[in-house]
């Protein structure tokens, strides 16, 4: 006589992993470990163990679905192998036609946020109103209080969607500002290095 298939895993971690998996399938945005713990009615440490298990199962190259840590939580995305097929069926409207001005403004909000439109205008040297409105519409930035009191300028910060679109675990995953070329001496040194490398 054949042994019956064991469809239900006896291992409690495996059982928890199934619950976490289900929650992540239902969610339309990344879920933090705390959110998962509350929903699964279990403790955070065990959730992390379950996530590790799922991470192995849903790794790039092993499945069409990939589990990733992004925007301060965990979420499923399509594997990169399937990107072409996905692109034929779906668009990535958030970043379509994102201008250089939009990216500069996004960088300012990501690094210095929450910051107001006057703050952005000070750095970029042009009024930021329409660019900011465009980014808000795309859902990449959102209002985050006001300068000073209630009458102050509206401040903006980046949204979890921004981190997700750019594949950032959190804002801390951005390169350090000091590492970006802003130092006059460093810029000069880099230019000289490029000039030296260039064949005569």
């Amino acid at each position: 006589m054949d042994r019956p298939l064991r469809l239900i895993a006896a291992n409690p971690v495996d059982r928890l992993a199934r619950v976490v998996e289900a929650l992540l399938v239902v969610a339309s945005q990344p879920l933090a470990v705390e959110d998962l713990a509350v929903a699964a009615n279990d403790d955070a440490e065990r959730i992390e163990t379950a996530l590790r298990l799922l991470g192995e199962r849903y790794a790039e190259g092993r499945s069409g679905i990939v589990l990733e840590q992004v925007a301060g939580g965990w979420a499923f995305r399509a594997s990169r192998d399937a990107a072409e097929a996905c692109a034929r069926l779906f668009e990535r409207p958030v970043e379509r036609g994102l201008s250089a001005a939009g990216l500069e403004t996004l960088a300012i909000v990501a690094y210095l946020g929450p910051c107001s439109r006057p703050d952005i205008a000070r750095i970029r040297g042009v009024a930021a109103d329409s660019v900011v409105a465009g980014l808000v519409e795309r859902g990449l930035i959102a209002e985050a209080g006001r300068d000073g009191d209630a009458a102050g300028a509206v401040r903006y910060r980046t949204t979890p969607l921004f981190e997700r679109v750019f594949g950032l675990e959190s804002l801390a995953a951005l390169p350090r500002l000091d590492d970006l070329g802003g130092d006059a001496d460093e810029i000069r040194a880099r230019l000289e290095a490029v000039a030296e490398k260039r064949p005569a």
Binding site: S28, F76, R77, A83, Y111, I123, V165, L177
Partner: protein, 251 residues
């Protein structure tokens, strides 16, 4: 080359340079919206087309564009005007270098984001509304279906219609008072208008007065009043020759 006629095609404005300056000076166009670098590029392109250096045009352009730049700077940093004017040239240069470095860093950051966007273009995920819908537990007090029914019944009955009667004036016909006064004058030679209309409403009294005027116009009565606001005496025509003559004169 005439600098003022330089055709511009900017995000915020399209037309001759002259008009742009006029609009900025009239405060109909925000200088902060004007891309000055784009204007300089347009000018340089025109200059190149000419194939020779037009010093007059360059000088004029420099003056105009410098003025525009100053207006823009004031517009962008109104609160800093004082602060910056107090800076020594050395400090101002340092401040400028610092700001340029700040901008350069952000430009580099934007470049990094662009690269990241390109490398992540194969990232597809499910998109949904930004925040999770909060689960609000609504606690309702114990409900009484009978009470709800009674409340609905109350709402379902048609409210009594409101009378608008008081809003329109009701005028009795003048003929009513004509008949009434003729009847009085058949019995008496004269009567006092005030005592005849005593007890009537203002509207009725006014219509009665119109009736008296009608009778007077038809020559059926003569009117007397000793002074303003004194009682009006209405006398049957032909009773006093004097009155009759007066009527004839005034008619």
């Amino acid at each position: 080359m005439i600098v003022r006629e330089l055709e511009l095609d900017l995000d915020a404005f399209e037309g001759p340079f002259d008009l742009l300056l006029t609009l900025v000076l009239r405060e109909e166009l925000e200088p902060a919206e004007v891309d000055v670098a784009e204007i300089v590029l347009s000018f340089c392109e025109r200059l190149e087309e000419q194939g020779r250096l037009d010093l007059d045009a360059c000088g004029e352009f420099l003056v105009l564009v410098a003025a525009l730049l100053e207006l823009k700077a004031r517009g962008l940093f109104p609160e800093e005007e004082l602060e910056l004017s107090e800076l020594e040239p050395e400090e101002a240069a340092e401040e400028l270098a610092r700001r340029l470095a700040d901008y350069r860093r952000m430009k580099e950051a934007a470049g990094w984001l662009r690269e990241r966007l390109d490398s992540e273009s194969s990232r597809f995920f499910r998109l949904g509304p930004a925040p999770l819908a909060p689960r609000v537990e609504r606690r309702l007090a114990p409900q009484d279906p009978e009470g709800l029914g009674a409340a609905l019944r109350l709402l379902a009955t048609e409210p009594p219609s409101v009378s608008l009667g008081h809003m329109a004036l009701r005028f009795p016909p003048v003929s009513l008072f004509l008949e009434r006064f003729r009847a009085v004058l058949r019995r008496r030679r004269r009567f006092d208008f005030d005592s005849e209309v005593g007890g009537l409403s203002r509207v009725e009294a006014a219509v009665a007065f119109l009736a008296v005027l009608e009778l007077r116009k038809a020559g059926e009565v003569s009117l007397e009043q000793a002074s303003s606001f004194a009682p009006i005496r209405v006398t049957r025509a032909g009773v006093e020759q004097k009155d009759q003559e007066w009527i004839a004169r005034s008619a």
